[in-house]
């Protein structure tokens, strides 16, 4: 059983793969800098998680707020407009719920940061969309979705 974070990442990737702008260029394990041939691209990561033991349904479960970052990378003459166009598609694709382990879980958009660079032969733009996904797992069983 995969960790719930991986299940969440996989569910996010499924939702944002095939967008008109970024297509199949969705990466979760990208460590090296992207080659221009890989652009425009989405990088899906789960860089943080807040967890607490909490009572639910008469028992104690682990409530996890998983931070999901979707980084958009572009190299174009119009980076600002392109980043916003892709962001519109990403936010629309994710919506407000995500299906994880067959159950709907809440997705909350919590903000974004963007940056531009003119260091290369064409402008490079980066925008990170941040979402929070809240799930409940059994104590000691981080791969088992217990509640949403």
């Amino acid at each position: 059983m995969a960790h719930i974070r991986k299940q969440v990442r996989d569910a996010v990737v499924a939702e944002v793969t095939g967008l008109a702008t970024t297509g199949a260029r969705v990466y979760t394990e990208q460590v090296a800098p992207l080659d221009p041939s890989q652009l425009p691209a989405l990088l899906v990561s789960t860089p943080a998680e807040d967890a607490e033991q909490s009572e639910k349904f008469g028992g104690v479960l682990v409530r996890r707020e998983i931070t999901v970052d979707i980084a958009i990378k572009v190299k174009t003459g119009t980076p600002v407009a392109t980043l916003d166009a892709i962001a519109e598609q990403v936010e629309t694709a994710l919506g407000t719920t995500l299906t994880v382990a067959g159950a709907p879980v809440d997705v909350d958009y919590v903000g974004m940061q963007s940056d531009l660079s003119d260091d290369a032969d064409r402008a490079i733009g980066s925008m990170v969309l941040r979402f929070t996904v809240t799930v409940w797992t059994e104590p000691g069983a981080p791969g088992v979705l217990a509640a949403t």
């Binding site: 800098p33 660079s117 290369a120 032969d121 064409r122």
Partner: protein
């Protein structure tokens, strides 16, 4: 002792220079296409090193065409002018893909 730096530049450009057309005028310039990484993306930072006298009238935004026999991407615009020290006999034109 008097050193004629312009003669040295002539030798430098004769050895390392290539033909380029800037704002419609052909000149000999030295191309540099160094690789850079910015915001997690690999790119190049192309520039042309030119004799200042050859590009005194060239402004930001001017069109640049490189030799298609030497470069896969040939059309650029001038994004920035940098006068090179110490003697200001040369200018580096930072290029942006057109």
């Amino acid at each position: 002792v008097t050193v004629d730096f312009s003669a040295s530049l002539d030798a430098l450009y004769a050895t390392f220079g290539e033909s380029a057309t800037i704002a419609g005028s052909p000149i000999t310039a030295i191309y540099d296409g160094g690789h850079v990484e910015a915001l997690g993306v690999i790119g190049t930072q192309p520039s042309l090193r030119c004799r200042a006298a050859d590009v005194s009238a060239i402004a930001v935004g001017a069109a640049v065409e490189l030799d298609p026999l030497l470069h896969a991407i040939v059309s650029y615009t001038v994004r920035e002018r940098q006068v090179l020290p110490p003697d200001e006999l040369e200018v580096r034109l930072i290029l942006e893909r057109a």
